[in-house]
Structures are given as structure tokens and as C-alpha cells.
Amino acid sequence: MKSRSALFVIPVLLAASASCMKWDYGEPEDFTAHGEGLFIVCEGNFQYGNSSLSYYDPQTRTVINDAFYRANGYKLGDVAQSMTCYDGRGWIVVNNSHVIFAIDPVTFRETGRITGFTSPRYIHFISPEKAYVTQLWDNRIFIVNPSTYQITGYITVPDMTMEQGSTEQMVQWGDYVYCCCWSYQKRILRIDTRTDRIDAQFETGVQPVSLSLDRFGKLWILTDGGYDGNPAGYESASLYKVDAATLEVERQFQFRRSDTPSELQLNGTRDTLYWLNNDVWRMDVRSTRPPVRPFLKERDTRFYGLTVDPVRGDVYVADAIDYQQQGMIYRFTSDAAPVDSFYVGVTPGAFCWN
């Protein structure tokens, strides 16, 4: 009879003793990141909530992975899209978490957060009291006050519905901010920062995805050309050179139909363009012809992010590998000589120089 009782009791005891899932949430760590460093924003996988932030010191060649989580004790969120350093703080836009975190770039600790967005993509600072935040699935650019972490207003984009809403990267020339409208769009907006109104816009090719402003006041706009079946159009991607003052298209370099260029970047002196198109490409902004050979050839890599050290001129390119594991950052000199490589988080897609 005793053994029969044990028969009932044992599984209950076993289950009780084995019922606790082990969580690994630890205590926040202390960091002190000195000097100019590079933040790498790893977007992770959509709906996994596994975005992360890495920090790389180019001088010591040391990397700190999962910096946000380790410094704060909680996760960065879902699909960290971009980061901007301004006025001694780093601002990380976490798209599908609907939040922008401000961090201290030395300790990586959060100093505040702005919420209430639809689907934030990029933040551009006009002043310590004003910044613009672009959105996907919204026809408004949000105006925020970074000092109070509040949304203070909206810039409504004409002829754009919520459903097809897309405002993306921004650059500033004088009192004007230029913003490309990407998903199912083909135009660039000009916003007067004194009035927070769109005072001009012009059309480009299909889906302008990336935007830069060179030292000569020329806008460089990269379109991705859409895809086959895209109602907004499908065409070859193009690189446009547009005068920021007159909004006149001065040059258009067309890619092949199969090309998928992205990640338009400038060097520190803003006279050399870099972009990804399977390989890494480079072009002087004064050039009248596109390059025929890549700056860096891909080697079974899936380049997903790109930046240029504004001081040293070194080129950093992010390899997402299979998008499901830690990505790799490759560092090269401006002569394409390899310098360093290091693992970061999943799907590294954006950079921010402190």
C-alpha cells in the first residue's frame, strides 16, 4: 500500500520541485566608455524583441556587446532602427517597440524615453529643444522636445494616407530639413525648420531609401526601385544628385535592374560617397561617372550596414550572415586594407559615431 501511495505523491513532488523556469536577468553593469566610439545598432529579428546595442572603441579595438541590456538590465526592444548622437546623448529609435531611448554614451544607461509613436524610423535634431521623428504607416512627422521627452507636434505630409505613409531619412541644409519618403513613395520633402511646415517637395525615382548631403550642398538620393508588382512602380534603382538650393536634379546614375543598392554614406569630409550593392562601392562626389569596380568585394557576406569613420576614414561594413545569429563587423582602412573584425548582435543595420 505504501508503494502505491508513493506512486501518486512522487510525480507531484517532482513537478513541484522542477517547476521554476530559470530567468537570467542580472544586475545592471557599470560601463565607462571614453573617447570617440562607434555604436552599432543591431535590429534583431522582427517580433523577437531581440534588438541590441554594441559599442566599439576604434583605438583599443574592444567591443562591448548587448551594451544597453547589460547597462540597464532590460531589453532594448523590437527592431532597433537607427541611432543619433546629439548634445552628449545617444538616441536609439526602436521601431516596433514604439519608443526612442536616450542613453548616456559613456555609461549606456538610459536617461529618458519618448513614447507615443506610430512606427518611428529616424530622429533628426534641430536644436536641444526640437527634433523630428519620421514614421512608417503614418502620414505625419512627429515633432518632439528632447529635453522634456515629449511629443510637441506633427508635420502632416500632403497627399499621403496613414496606410501608405512613409517618411524616412533626413538631412539638414541651413534652415531646411530634407526627408525622403520611401515605402510606396517617390518624393523628397523639404521642411522649413522655422515654421515646421513642408514648403517644397520634388519627385524622384521609385522608393528613395537613403539620403546624404555633401560638402557642396548637393543632396545624394538613393532609390531602391521598388519590386516587381509594386503599385508605386518598379524600375532600376538610381543615385540622384540634387542641388539643395534649387532642387534641380543635376545627375542620375542608374543601376542595373537586378541591383539592390542601399546604405548611402559619406566620409568625414563629405566628399566621398559610399554605398552597398552586394559589394561596397565608393565614388567621389565630383565624379561624373559611376565607379566600375567595387571598393570592397563581398566574400559570401550579406552586407546590411555601412559607415565611415568621420575622423580616420576607416570603413565599417556589417555582415548579417544568416540574419539569425550574431552579425560580423569588418573594419577597413580607406585603402580597403582590413584592420579588424568583430561579432556584434543579430542583424547589425545602423551605426552611430559618438
Binding site: L7, A16, S19, P231, A232, Q324
Partner: protein
Amino acid sequence: MKKTLFLIILAFSLMTSAQKSRNLGNVTVTASRPMKEIGVQKTSFDSTQLKESIAQSMADILAFNSSVYVKSYGRAALSTVAFRGTSPSHTQVTWNGMRINNPMLGMTDFSTIPAFFVDRASLLHGSSSVNEAGGGLGGLVRLGTAPDMPEGFGAQYVQGIGSFRTFDEFARFTYCNDRWASSTRVVYSSSPNDFKYVNHDKKLNIYDDEHNIIGQYFPTERNRSGAYKDLHLLQEVYYNNQRGDRLGFNAWFINSNRELPMLTTDYADDTDFDNRQHERTFRGVVSWDHSRSSWKTALRGGYVNTLVKYDYSRQVAPGAPMAAMTRSRSRIHTLYGQAEGEFTPSRKWYFTMGLAAHQHFVKSIDRKVADANGGDGLVGYDKARIELSGSASVKWQPVERMGLSLVLRQEMFGDKWSPLIPAFFIDGVISRSGNITAKASVTKNHRFPTLNDLYFMPGGNPDLRDEDGFTYDAGLSFDVGKSDRFSLGGSVTWFDSRIDDWIIWLPTTKGFFSPRNVKRVHAYGIETKLNLGVQPFKGWFLDINGSYSWTPSVNDGDRISAADMSVGKQLPYVPRHSAAVTGRIGWKSWAFLYKWCFYSERFTQSSNENSISGHLPAYFMNNVTLEKGLRFKPLDLSLKFAVNNLFNEQYLSVLSRPMPGINFEFFIAVTPRF
């Protein structure tokens, strides 16, 4: 430590075999094996298992009664099932013979299949699935209704009231005479589903007057945007002419309106957003079964109509109406026809032939945007595909103790033919004492990409290659028992599968996802099952069912680049160990049920990083139910109290998807006597 506990739990089942005695109930111990199932690796669910947790979906039934991996995105949210280290789209699912995998996604959401609607369920593991359909690289889940019902009028009504303002209502009305049988079943479940949980993925800040952070804490939140209202109707009519012919009609209607829960990492105000999926599905099957002494034929025809509306909208200003951000509409029409024949010329030979056709018409509109000319343009696809699957099999039992089976299957999806899919099975009784049987099978299976894989806009990849799988398994089983005292059965099976050109969706530089053939996967391991039934004393019974799987499933492909760390690693979201034990003790009209399941650590990254987001810790789940039956003159009453997540475990099945802690539900079932 975890492994030790695991072994103890398994050993428990074995230990109990030394103390047996039991009411056999529905366990049959016999040396004869049906020829149809020569060499087949099958897990069957009896009616007790299906009906014991009336409010649960088939996802929960499978989680607690088998060792397949059930991946749940939350309570009343997407739940998928995967066998033997494969993916949910490698699991084929049939309902009354008709394949019900979503032709767009390839997978089946088991959270939308109420256990109350299933009378017969079984799992066909690995190669055994080829007997029913192709493409089940992991296996096949066979669900169905049954015409068996008591003579005359019957009715049952069950009301469940549970935590989180959950209301479950079930009703069944039956009528049966010697020729006709009719059954009508209704299920309606609703809940705000706003359970509380401690959110460990975010912290809330405490600020001083100058907006400096002076403190932080993990908030206790409610599951946001998780409400659901699900209605299911099932009508069955059967006619039996008593001369070997049976006509059947089954119609199942689903109207499901579910919010999609917010991630734990979402900082949005849930009142600003509405994120909702509304599904209306009709499935109808008519069947004719014609049986004679040595042969059988069956004809089936069916139709499925599914409309899935996905709406994501937000309020742009207080008091303003919700503005649509995404309006996705998917309409699927499927026509189904199937003919089967079985012929048994002698006791030694058994032949089958079958041909099934599914014609899908799919229109998927993701959203409406302005086209290049300023007019309305649609993002989506409108495609039709015929899917044919034909098979022939011969089964031979040269001696009573041994059986051989060969199945040849070929499929055509669209205009593409699969290679011949052969499957070979063998089994033999090694010892009559203990009914020890050895089984083995081998197959080369083939799976076509889904319609979304090929045509989804944007990202569909019409150049995808089909997936190929090679699998074999071998195992032993036994059954012993003594009439009205005990029964004990068990099995252990080794399996080994290789899948080439595994399809997976990956991001692109254009901002959308696209499927690619990227992996060669080697999945292997062991499946064990043990069932014990004991009747220790008069009026008592004890049932214990246990299962355990060890399923390494590793990326066996070539490295993408020198930096690739995924080769040789376990696939994401495939636990190496899974186990389930269900124990039921009955005494007179009382019944106590204990359900336990376990999944080992799951990695979320292909490189198996042990970081905070790189893995999900192992978890155990414990549910208990106490039931009391009462008999009155005009009716029978049954009162049941269920406790889910008994130890209030905080756990995750999927990253960033909250799961409920301890919760309760009380049921009262009324069965009038006519």
C-alpha cells in the same frame, strides 16, 4: 540538474510498472496488428484524452499528451506543432481526410481547433505520414469526427467560467437510429484575456521633478490586446444503409475574432492601437464509404472557404476614429476530392490506392496604395494551384508475425511533379510474450513551397527549390496486460532525417522578407512512449501516459562565410528534449487528472548563443483537474475544477510573448436523459 529530473520523471513511469493493476478501459492488448498499419509509427489519442480538457484546443491536447513540440505565441494565439525537430510547415494536418494546412502558410494553427470537435486524433510520425499525404517531412496530424453516438436523442451543455473573465460554452445535440445519425456541436469562447504578468523585458522609470531617472522597476502588466471571441459550429449527418454503405456530411464553421497581443517589449499605449485578426472559415466534407468483405472504396468531396482579415490601425488624436495602417485580406477557396480503395484478396495481402486533389484559389491583398498613375494599386497576389497526390501501396504478411509494406506516392503541385515518393515499412513480432514488436520504415519525402513562399508580395520567390527529406526510423514496442487488472504498453523509436533546401524567410536590403533555400538539416533522435492502466481496487482506476523525445536537429549545411557560426548547431525553436506525462486517478464518480509537460531550452539564434535573447530557458507546465459526476433522474451533472499552470510559473514559449500564470476554470456539464 534538469537532465537528472527528467530521467527521474521517466523512471517514474517505468517504476510504476512494477506496481500495476488496472481497468483496461479502452486499451486493447492483442497480438494481431492491422495490416493497414504495418510498420507505422503512430500516436493515438483516445476519447478520454480528447474530452478531458474540453476548453482546450488541440494545441494543448498535443502538448500534454505527446512529445511533439507545440510552439505557442500566447493564450488563444497562434500555436503550431512540429515533429522530430522539423518546422510547423513540415507537419501535414488532415480533417476527415481533407488536408487543412493553410495553403498560403503551409502550417496549421492548432489554437483554432477545439478539442470538443475532434473525436479521433492520431499522429503519424516521420515516414508513416506518407501513407496519408506527401510533404509531411516531420509527420502528420490526423483529425476527424466519428459517427459513433448513442441511440436516440442526446444532448450536452457545458458552461465554463474561468480566470480573466473567460467564458466557454459548449453544446452538443445528437440523434441516432439504426440508419441515421446527426450531431450538432457549438463552441463559443470569449475572454478579454488580460492576465497579469511581471514584464522582465522592460522597466518603468521613476523620475524626479527635473525628469531625472531616480529608480526603475519591472512592471506588473496585463496582457495587452489579447481579447478573443471564437465561435465554432460543427454539423454532422451520417446515413448507414446497413449493407456496407455509409454517407457522411461534415460542416465546420469558424468565426474567430482575435486581437493580436502586444510584445513584452512594446512601449505603445494599447488603447491607441487596434491589432486584430478576424477569420471566417467554412470546411465541408461529404463522404461515401462502401465496404464489402474483401474490399472498400471511399469517395470524398469537400470545400473550404477562408477569409482572414488583418487590421492594424491607430487613433491619431483623442476622440478621432481609428486610422487604418494595414488592411490585409486573404481569401482562400479550396475544392477537394479524394478517391480511395482497399482490397484484401487474402489474409496475407492488402492493397490500397488513392488519389486526392486540392484546388486552391487564393487572393491575398496586403494593402492598398496609390499606383504609379495615382490610382488605387493593390499589393498582393491572386493565384490558383492544383495539388494532386496519388498513392498505391501493397502490404504483405507472409507469416503472421511479420509484415511488409511498400507505399509509392507522387504529387503534382501546379505544373510541377514531385519525384516518386517511396516509403517502405516492415514490422515483426519478436516475442509473443509481451507482444514485443519491431518496426522500421524508410522514405524519401518531398515538399513543395507554399503559395506565400512563391508569390507573396513583396518577397515571394518563384525560384525556390522544393524541400527534400530522407528519413528512416526503427523501434520496438510492447503491450502486456491482464484483463480487468492492468495494461502496460510502450515503445522506443530511433529516427534519423535529412532535409535539403530547407525554406526559410530572411530579411532583404529592400526592407521586406523573402524566402530562400538555405539549409541542410540533420534531425535525429529518440521517441519513447509508455502507457499504464491499473485497476488497483474495485472502483479505482489509474491511467498514466508518458512520452519523451530527444530531438537534436542541427544545421548540417555549409558555412555561408567564415563568420558563420550556425553549422552543427541546433535549429532555432527546436527543443532537444520534450516530455509529457498525464496521470488520471478515478474513484467511483471522482476523477483527478494531473498533466505535466516539459520543453528543454530553445535557442532563438542559429548560432545557439546563450545570451538574454538568444535562448529561452526550459520550462515545466503543470495542470490539474478534479471532476465529480452526479447522477439525477432527469439528468447527469458533472462538475469540474481545473487549475492551469499550477505552480504559477513565469515562462515563455516564444520570445517576447507573455504567458499566463496560475489560472482557474470551473465547468458544469449538464446531460439530460431522454
